[in-house]
């Protein structure tokens, strides 16, 4: 795991090289080897100093997460943390210089190793990142990071790194004092490392003095106020666990010496890493996302890339998709109703890039190059050379059909055509002018530059090769694809809309709007359901429900909650011009300088004779989504539960600590899920009725939902219960 080289000047270089995987991680193998080396090296007085570096692309990017998922006992995790901490401390106290010559990304445990070194020098390359991202998976640093970082750069400065998982470039790291020096290349890196060792003068980092001298030391008033305020900012309804545990680790650790602080950190670390919340986040956000990204990679690797993408519609989605394409060097042409519209769209792309330049993530040069790949037009003639066309206009099936009809004569024979629709069945949008095997859906999420999920919708006619090309396209955009089968609402919109519809139905029934909103937030959604309705806009919701009614035909909307949501949305739009956030009024009013408030029109639905408790409302909002997701499973919309979980978290902000709709079912068990749905059906109506698939899974003695191996088949066959 770690290669040893001793140089002539008695400097030992330890080059980390994980032979079992792509990246260097801290696992049992590494730790054992590390322990042995530390023991040997610290015994040998002839050594002048130590240099850590890497033989792989990254320096060291964290711990092997398998261990945390599989650990049965939190004490095992505690011991692991203590082993790493103790060995790092041994090196730190050794008396000889230890240098981290960082020639790749140093994240998590890798950065903690570097922090324990007396000198950190890093190659100034834009691909290198340094930081402690553990919190993004519901974990925390367990190798002394919560103790060393505050002592290094001060408590106040360290908190964004620890609490938000912020990672920085080598340049920024140098500016912030995280590293001591930069190097232009590998040889300069080692040169500087050696130079430090040669002139080392036993200048041990004085952690203890720095801790007590910190202006925000918890011993003083300023510190007490800071920690009080930070605690409050992490204690809102629906807040996740990890940040508060990290804050406690810093607070408690800074009251004692470094080594004792590490003991405190190890305890919080074990508690978090063993928690179901963290395990859920790791399973979905790490393993799940990776699986989605890697699926069919043997096919997508050899698939032919798209060279030119035609985008119909220069709105927010169109511009976003264009930006994503040109960022990866893919040429695009944007068409809008007129040239002004298309130019406006290109300008939006430019604005987004300007923001990235301001953040130091993009250069002016890179922006110019990307914009050079954007052409604008008001005519489909310019789409004749496109090999992929994405339609991103209003959620109106008639409009889309007419656009596709108009486009048809200008397309290449072998063009792949997609709609960015969030809900309309693809099969209804295509005309005979198109080859059905090359016509599918590519559903991006807004805002495109922030949302990594892409829902790829295939129909029963879709061609495998076309599908693999599209998957490759999505992966090239650095997005996370899930594959779903064509139907109304696909997967994400179908399930996500339930969050809103259940809420608006409850509003219509007369329940307190604030309780409804706080129920959503308390569950762990980033926004309450009515807030979200305003964000996506009331007219989009009305359109989606309207389209669904059309599809249902003469029955219209049969589900009472959907019916009532349509009534409310329609009333707010037509009687009060309330379209949502973009029109400054929706369910909420959005005054210019103050925070938003629920509007009088919204509150008028309140009937004081009905009263729902917060916990009951939470159950309604959560389980209606569970029910819908299980129906999707039953109908064969999804090809795996993992994709459903990934879509939950990345697509609509489903509470990360719950892991996703299917992970939630597995957590509480399928029997409990069934019982709960039956109970809710009794109390609130047939829309909660448990799908047959639940019964059939239970009959087969499934305790949890497994992923399917087959691809084009639905995950479960529907049996008579």
């Amino acid at each position: 795991m770690i290669n040893i080289q001793k140089t002539e000047s008695d400097i030992i270089t330890l080059s980390i090289e994980n032979k079992d995987g792509d990246v260097n991680v801290i696992n049992e193998k590494f730790l054992t080897h590390f322990e042995t080396l530390v023991e040997e090296i610290t015994r040998d007085d002839s050594t002048k100093g130590l240099i850590f570096t890497s033989a792989k692309k990254d320096f060291l990017v964290g711990a092997d997460l398998d261990f945390f998922i599989s650990a049965e006992n939190p004490l095992d995790i505690y011991k692991l943390s203590r082993r790493l901490q103790k060995n790092l401390r041994s090196l730190e106290k050794w008396g000889k210089p230890v240098v981290a010559a960082i020639n790749g990304s140093a994240l998590g445990g890798g950065f903690e190793l570097a922090l324990a070194c007396h000198y950190r020098v890093v190659i100034n390359h834009h691909s290198i990142k340094l930081g402690l991202p553990e919190v993004t998976l519901g974990l925390m640093p367990g190798g002394g990071g919560t103790q060393r970082l505050p002592r290094l750069i001060g408590i106040e400065k360290s908190l964004p790194y620890l609490l938000k998982g912020k990672s920085v470039s080598p340049q920024k790291a140098r500016e912030q004092g995280l590293v001591h020096a930069l190097a232009e290349n590998q040889s300069e890196l080692i040169e500087k490392a050696k130079a430090f060792i040669e002139q080392f003068n036993s200048s041990e980092i004085d952690h203890e003095k720095k801790a007590t001298a910190d202006p925000h030391s918890p011993r003083g008033k300023a510190g007490q106020n800071l920690f009080a305020a930070m605690t409050a900012s992490l204690s809102y309804p629906g807040a996740t666990k990890a940040p508060l545990k990290i804050l406690s680790s810093v607070y408690e650790g800074m009251l004692v010496p470094l080594e004792r602080g590490c003991e405190i950190e190890a305890r919080y670390f074990a508690e978090l890493a063993h928690s179901p919340q963290s395990n859920n986040m790791i399973r979905t956000l790490f393993y799940g996302v990776n699986n989605c990204k890697k699926q069919f990679s043997s096919f997508t690797e050899s698939a032919a890339p798209f060279k030119k993408v035609g985008i119909i519609g220069g709105g927010i989605m169109g511009s976003g998709i264009a930006g994503a394409c040109v960022s990866e060097g893919i040429e695009v042409v944007i068409k809008d109703l007129d040239l002004t519209g298309a130019e406006f769209s290109k300008n939006n792309v430019s604005q987004k890039f300007n923001k990235l330049i301001k953040r130091g993530v993009l250069t002016e040069e890179q922006k110019e190059r990307a914009l050079g790949l954007v052409s604008t037009t008001d005519s489909f003639e310019d789409f004749s050379t496109c090999d992929l066309i994405i339609e991103a206009t209003y959620e109106d099936s008639e409009l889309k059909k007419s656009i596709f009809k108009e486009l048809a004569p200008f397309c290449r024979e072998d063009v792949v055509v997609a709609s960015n629709t969030s809900s309309l069945p693809i099969i209804n949008l295509m005309s005979e002018d198109y080859k059905p095997e090359n016509f599918l859906g590519i559903h991006f999420f807004s805002p495109v530059e922030q949302m990594p999920l892409v829902e790829v919708i295939k129909t029963s006619k879709s061609d495998r090769d076309t599908l693999f090309r599209v998957l490759k396209f999505v992966k090239d955009l650095s997005k996370v694809p899930i594959i779903v089968n064509d139907s109304f609402g696909f997967f994400t919109t179908r399930v996500f809309t339930r969050y809103i519809v259940e809420a608006v139905h409850a509003l219509y029934q007369g329940h307190c709007a604030t309780i409804i909103e706080n129920a959503g937030r308390d569950l762990g959604f980033p926004l309450g359901p009515l807030e979200i309705a305003d964000e996506v806009s009331l007219n989009l919701i009305r359109s989606i429900l309207g389209e669904k009614a059309k599809i249902n035909g003469v029955d219209g909307l049969t589900d009472i909650s959907e019916k009532n949501t349509y009534i409310v949305a329609n009333s707010l739009i037509s009687k009060h011009s309330r379209l949502g956030k973009k029109s400054k009024k929706g369910f909420y009013d959005y005054p210019a300088k103050e925070s938003k408030l629920l509007s009088e029109e919204t509150k008028r639905y309140r009937n004081s004779e009905v009263q729902i408790g917060l916990e009951q409302m939470k159950e309604r909002l959560l389980f209606i989504q569970i029910k819908e997701a299980l129906s999707c499973l039953e109908e064969g919309i999804l090809s795996s539960a993992t994709e459903g979980d990934v879509a939950s978290l990345l697509g609509w902000g489903f509470p990360p600590e719950l892991g996703g709709v299917f992970t939630y079912c597995n957590e509480i068990g399928l029997q409990e899920t069934l019982d709960k749905l039956l109970e809710l059906e009794k109390d609130y109506g047939p829309r909660f009725s448990p799908p047959k698939v639940l019964k059939s899974l239970l009959n087969k003695n499934y305790e949890i939902i497994h992923d399917a191996d087959e691809f084009f088949k639905p995950i479960a066959t529907i049996e008579e219960s």
């Binding site: 007490q224 009080a228 305020a229 204690s235 408030l597």
Partner: protein, 404 residues
């Protein structure tokens, strides 16, 4: 109380402005406390060796108020070495707790004569200087749902639907009543001017009272807790516990909240036995005492159950009580207490409250008792009740009956 416990006499210093330009700012807290002790003991002919213990409330027990300030003050006042002392902290209820504590020791037969009181110099030892895990230890604070008291007060106002006007009106009343009481010298029995060694008076009246306070003058003040609530996230901590609220209305400001002041008080508490032994006449009897905990986020509602408990123990109802002293920590606290317990407004804080007079944390409870007894005597009424809300979510109440 099963055995009678009596209040024989009480003194209190005026409340000085709790800032560096306050009249008592150059009077050290140990001096204030010893001054109160000396004033009380000097004006009675009780032999000093008979005093067994001094129990003083003091909240911010650090620095000048650390190291058992009660004992320091007892020695500094020249009381005999045999007089023991204890400093206690039950936040804003400390002054009343000291009396309750003394009453318990006397009622149980452990002691016969105790001086109970309190001292706080907020100008010299600012509130919060002593730290504490409830506020700043993340694991503790988050599990409690801690929010600063001012936001608790705003939370009460939001829940009860009190508007800015309601709160300001009470503030105006506090100043008008206090101002009138000062003019009429209603406080004369207990109020003792604080004097220096040259005989000059540092302060002889409660200097925070402003008869010029009006609704208009108060309307100009900006709410004190918006930033803390909205920017620092404490509002959301409150909403987490009270999810029926969309937002917290920030209505409290310096003018309708208690002011920070310096002051001390001392009260003779004794047994029936000591009455006979020393032939002294009690001014009042302690009928009952109640202490209870309450929801810590809203924090300031504990005085409601405490009042109910104290009345029940004394076998009395709200209607039986002639005068109420409901500590005006924040205007919404008083309004909420009156509304929930249906206490008639004309019986409440008749000579003003902490909004006008000030709230010297560790001493207030004792000051309220002394003012209450003075007023019961003045208007020839019998039953009084003192109650205070307490940090961390507690409430304390005591029923007092004038005479023996």
């Amino acid at each position: 109380m099963n055995t009678p416990v009596y209040i024989y006499d009480s003194v209190r210093t005026p409340r000085g402005k709790g800032k560096s330009d306050g009249s008592l700012h150059i009077v050290r807290p140990v001096t204030l406390a010893s001054f109160a002790l000396k004033s009380l003991t000097d004006r009675q002919s009780i032999p000093l060796e008979r005093i067994e213990d001094v129990i003083f409330g003091c909240v911010t027990q650090i620095g000048e108020q650390g190291g058992c300030i009660a004992k320091a003050a007892t020695l500094y006042a020249g009381l005999p070495y045999s007089v023991a002392a204890q400093t206690l902290n039950r936040f804003c209820g400390s002054g009343l707790e000291a009396i309750g504590h003394a009453a318990a020791k006397i009622g149980s037969g452990m002691n016969d004569l105790i001086i109970a009181g309190g001292v706080e110099s907020m100008s010299r030892v600012p509130m919060g200087d002593d730290g504490g895990p409830m506020m700043s230890d993340p694991d503790v604070s988050s599990s409690i749902g801690f929010i600063p008291q001012g936001i608790s007060a705003d939370l009460i106002a939001t829940l009860r639907g009190y508007g800015r006007r309601d709160l300001d009106q009470w503030a105006v009343r506090s100043h008008q009543r206090a101002s009138h009481a000062q003019e009429q010298n209603y406080f004369r029995k207990s109020l003792i001017p604080v004097k220096d060694k040259l005989g000059q008076s540092y302060l002889s009246y409660d200097e925070m009272v402003r008869s010029s306070t009006t609704m208009e003058s108060l309307a100009k003040l900006t709410p004190s807790f918006s930033l803390l609530g909205e920017k620092y996230g404490f509002d959301k901590v409150a909403i987490k516990k009270y999810p029926e609220l969309e937002k917290i209305f920030h209505l409290h400001h310096a003018g309708n909240s208690s002011s920070m002041v310096d002051g001390a008080a001392a009260i003779y508490i004794g047994s029936e036995k000591i009455q006979k032994e020393l032939n002294i006449t009690p001014r009042a009897r302690i009928r009952s005492y109640a202490i209870t905990g309450s929801e810590p986020t809203i924090m300031l509602t504990g005085l409601i159950p405490a009042t109910q408990m104290a009345l029940k123990k004394a076998d009395l109802t709200i209607d039986d009580v002639d005068l109420f002293e409901i500590n005006e920590a924040f205007a919404s606290v008083v309004l909420n207490t009156m509304d929930q317990l249906k206490i008639p407004e004309e019986k409440v804080n008749v000579n003003g409250g902490a909004i006008a007079l000030g709230h010297p944390l560790g001493a207030t409870g004792a000051m309220l008792v002394s003012s209450l007894i003075d007023e019961l005597e003045r208007i020839d009424k019998r039953i009084g009740l003192v109650t205070l809300c307490i940090g961390g979510g507690m409430g304390i109440a005591m029923v007092i009956e004038r005479g023996s």
